[in-house]
């Protein structure tokens, strides 16, 4: 790994750490992302590496019972809701990289990596000594089979949406739009333990994409099917699966990362009713929940045997407006919508303070490339003035569609509706079943969309606001924004990148298609006997880190 210190990017990071333009935590985050080993990065930053939970003091044995939804798990490469389905297979099937609770992406099945100065050629070293549960050695061929499979449009993996920008080209198959890998050599086997990714555009977040939940590494013989007894490289095997009821995972001896502390992990389906989860924890039927909802907070906080875990995230409910629908086609109207809102009120009412305020630009303080620009203060008079300038002196009326699967979305909308009223903006609230919303999420003139945590702010901006990308739900298009964003994606110098992000944030505030008052913290409750747990911003569970006191 010492060679990496000489790497141009790492040197840039080192200089920024030395001159104080980057803090130590940010250094570790970026240095590991570029392939520096975590212990080396922590050492270079003068930080103590977090003690891995492999301490002698961890309790051994026991059955850990976690409350969740036990949904269909057969096809990891096409998972759609990471918090549920992937938490079962995650204990068996591993990922090429590992993004920890603090957003630091480090080695997984890839032991180390390096990147070319133009951020287009990534060379990954496959970890040696890793064995599949059937005793076979884990090699580069297995990695390549998985990567090619998720990028096959026939498979239907959402990895396509994530990697399309730098690994795929548009094409037409039987008269229908499709995608194909941009170059025959894009995913290249260098040797049995080295894989090279040749991107068509610079991309800084390749290692982070490898930790996206559908990118689970499966054995080629599985043909992409995960079930009881499936072969993986991970610390557990799935021994029992009863859809809608429970999944049982038994510790696998001889795991390359060291044996798990618990003997068994059970994931129990407790349905969607908030009170069922509370009742199950109260009667100690469960040791914890994958995640809890703000509506459960007070009741769970009152149970003395439970410990509270939370983590700030970039998860948010974006109130977005279609830029091609009246009256939101006028940027002045969109800005007026933002000016009429006090994010502090939304944070208090909708999230009970469990989060931080946002400044209507979708970049969160939880992102290392977040730039602190002046917050947008509530100014009703300015909002009214803008509406008048846009030709709406008597105010505007519209309808907001709110999916009902995130309880706090509705409260957020209600709080905003009351504040909008003062500026002459009349908005009608229309709730919709969560599942139905995904059919119309890019179409309705005004809606609230969940955007989960992503480790970098440029990832959020690139996915949601770049001209013409599939998830640009508001139809937003701004040439200047696109150019600065592309520049930021190819800029490793964090100080320079933050300057660019500040510009992007300002464009969002002035011209953007969104009202985005808050970021929520994700949180959960666990029995105090559970050790080694920490909340992951994307609600991922790692059974091998956890222990259970008798």
């Amino acid at each position: 790994m010492t060679n990496d210190i000489h790497d141009q990017h790492i040197r840039t990071l080192g200089r920024q750490l030395a001159d104080g333009s980057m803090n130590r935590r940010e250094f570790v985050r970026f240095a590991t992302l570029l392939g520096m080993a975590a212990p080396a990065a922590y050492a270079a930053a003068g930080l103590a590496a977090p003690t891995a939970a492999r301490a002698q003091s961890m309790p051994k044995g026991g059955v850990l019972r976690i409350g969740t939804r036990v949904k269909e798990i057969k096809s990891p490469h096409t998972y759609s809701w990471g918090g549920y389905d992937s938490n079962i297979s995650r204990q068996v099937l591993e990922y090429l990289t590992f993004t920890d609770e603090k957003g630091v992406t480090g080695p997984g099945l890839f032991e180390k990596w390096s990147v070319s100065p133009d951020l287009k050629t990534w060379t990954f070293n496959v970890r040696k000594g890793v064995k599949w549960h059937n005793g076979q050695e884990f090699t580069a061929d297995h990695v390549i089979w998985n990567l090619k499979r998720v990028l096959d449009p026939e498979v239907g993996s959402s990895m396509i949406g994530l990697m399309k920008g730098y690994l795929l080209d548009d094409t037409t198959v039987n008269g229908k739009a499709s995608t194909k890998i941009w170059d025959a050599n894009a995913i290249e086997k260098v040797d049995d333990h080295t894989v090279r990714i040749n991107c068509k555009l610079p991309q800084v977040a390749v290692p982070e994409h490898f930790f996206h939940y559908p990118m689970a590494i499966m054995h080629p013989d599985s043909k992409g099917v995960f079930q009881v007894g499936s072969v993986g490289t991970g610390p557990f095997t799935l021994t029992e699966f009863d859809l809608g009821k429970k999944a049982v995972l038994k510790a696998q001896k001889g795991y390359w990362g060291g044996d798990a502390f618990i003997d068994t992990m059970e994931q129990i389906d407790i349905g969607d009713d908030a009170s069922a989860a509370i009742a199950a924890l109260a009667s100690k039927q469960l040791h914890g929940l994958v995640f809890a909802d703000p509506g459960q907070y007070d009741a769970l906080k009152a149970l003395p045997h439970l410990a509270f875990y939370d983590v700030p995230t970039a998860e948010t409910g974006v109130i977005r407006m279609r830029c091609d629908a009246k009256p939101f086609d006028n940027p002045k109207v969109r800005k007026a919508m933002r000016l009429a809102i006090d994010p502090e009120v939304v944070l208090k009412v909708a999230l009970r303070g469990l989060g931080v305020t946002g400044d209507h630009h979708h970049c969160s303080p939880a992102h290392p490339d977040y730039a602190a620009i002046p917050p947008m203060k509530r100014d009703v008079a300015a909002a009214k003035k803008l509406l008048a300038e846009a030709g709406y002196a008597n105010g505007i009326s519209a309808e907001i569609i709110v999916p009902n699967d995130h309880a706090w979305f509705q409260t957020q909308a209600e709080a905003c509706i009351e504040m909008w009223k003062e500026a002459g903006i009349t908005i009608k609230l229309s709730p919709m079943p969560g599942a139905a919303y995904w059919d119309v999420w890019t179409k309705v003139p005004m809606g609230t969309t969940i955007w989960y945590h992503r480790p970098l702010s440029i990832m959020c901006l690139g996915l949601a606001y770049r001209t013409g990308v599939p998830w640009n739900e508001s139809g937003y298009s701004n040439k200047e924004f696109d150019e600065i964003l592309t520049q930021a994606e190819g800029t490793i110098d964090l100080a320079k990148r933050k300057e660019l992000v500040a510009k992007l944030e300002t464009i969002m505030q002035e011209d953007g298609p969104l009202v985005q008052p808050v970021f929520r913290s994700t949180f959960t409750f666990m029995d105090k006997r559970v050790k080694g747990f920490s909340m992951h911003p994307t609600n991922y569970m790692f059974g091998w880190k956890m222990g259970l006191e008798a």
């Binding site: 057969k74 759609s80 399309k164 229908k176 059970e266 349905g271 009742a279 199950a280 109260a282 059919d439």
Partner: protein, 337 residues
């Protein structure tokens, strides 16, 4: 009697055909797309389109309905199991057999693998609740109706009204607060899994209690009303006047006549207990039929909704048939033609 049963059976079949078609037509108007829900919000539109085609969702309604009916009757192989589609749908029973409800797009499993264990779980819950509701409400209803206006009658009637008017989600939470949170005597959910340290029987106590509270109150009121009416009849007064003791009057003269009206009501409770217990199943995370129907409906899983509808309808019509026959046995004035 046989002709009556045969006619009822024929009308059952007709109802099943009509209802199954209606379900197909109604889900047509639901604003969602199974392919989108299967792949999730992060899939690209062209990926959704590919799956939509594979699932055959672009065919006209009538084509999809006849295909579904053909698969159910075993006349056609289930097209979704075609390995060329790459959907990984495989039924160990084969792709062509009578009673093939098709493949659940929500659970990615044959409907027959999903539905029966859940129906069994709900039948257990319903069976225990029914076994308590019937004798309890008969006893209380008869006691109340025997002496209309007495203190006992008023007490029982008030209990009946109060317990029926508290919705299941509220009584569920009240009972959990008392017996789980404060006293710690019972488990708070019923996953029917003994691994949590709570035996299965203890997991059934609260859901059964909620159903009994909700349902018994109603049946008690029906029995009481019928009993009170019979007690005011001339032949009961005559029985009293000729000096018969209360016990004999009730047992020999009143009871059978008082049971005619509540008999139908009681049998109708079976329908409610099988397909109407969704709230109780949600509150206690009970892996039953009601919760499954809710999940399937929210997802738009047509194969599962159809199967559940047919099963629920069959149960409803069968109980109706039993109640009609029972009615005739209890009341000789009624004959079945």
């Amino acid at each position: 009697m046989l002709r009556f049963a045969a006619r009822r059976l024929a009308s059952l079949l007709l109802t099943l055909v009509a209802a199954s078609f209606l379900v197909f037509a109604v889900t047509e108007f639901s604003p969602s797309n199974v392919a989108r829900k299967t792949l999730g919000p992060f899939a690209l539109q062209n990926q959704v389109d590919i799956l939509y085609e594979k699932l055959g969702l672009s065919d006209p309604l009538l084509v999809r309905y006849t295909r579904w009916a053909g698969v159910l009757l075993g006349l056609k192989a289930d097209p979704l199991q075609d390995p060329a589609l790459n959907l990984n749908f495989k039924d160990p029973r084969g792709d062509k057999y009578f009673g093939n409800f098709g493949y659940s797009t929500l659970y990615k499993a044959p409907v027959n693998d999903v539905i029966w264990s859940r129906l069994g779980a709900t039948a257990t819950l319903a069976g225990i609740a029914f076994a308590i509701i019937v004798p309890l409400s008969l006893a209380l209803g008869v006691l109340a109706g025997m002496r209309e206006g007495s203190a006992l009658d008023r007490t029982i009637s008030v209990f009946g009204i109060v317990s029926t008017s508290i919705p299941e989600f509220a009584s569920g939470v009240f009972l959990v607060a008392i017996f789980v949170v404060v006293l710690g005597w019972l488990p708070g959910t019923s996953p029917l899994d003994p691994g949590s340290g709570w035996p299965i029987w203890s997991q059934l106590v609260l859901p059964v209690a909620v159903l009994v509270l909700y349902d018994a109150g109603y049946v008690v009121r029906m029995v009481r009303g019928s009993m009170a009416e019979v007690m005011n009849k001339g032949y009961v007064r005559t029985a009293f006047l000729k000096g018969l003791p209360m016990r004999t009057v009730v047992m020999r003269h009143a009871l059978r006549n008082a049971m005619i009206a509540p008999f139908t009501v009681i049998l109708l409770q079976i329908n409610f207990l099988i397909s109407g217990v969704v709230v109780t199943e949600m509150v206690f995370a009970y892996p039953g039929f009601g919760r499954m129907i809710l999940d399937a409906s929210l997802f738009g899983d047509i194969a599962l909704i159809e199967a559940a509808t047919l099963i629920a309808l069959t149960i409803a019509i069968a109980t109706q048939l039993v109640s009609d026959i029972g009615y005739a046995l209890l009341n000789p004035q009624i004959s079945l033609k």
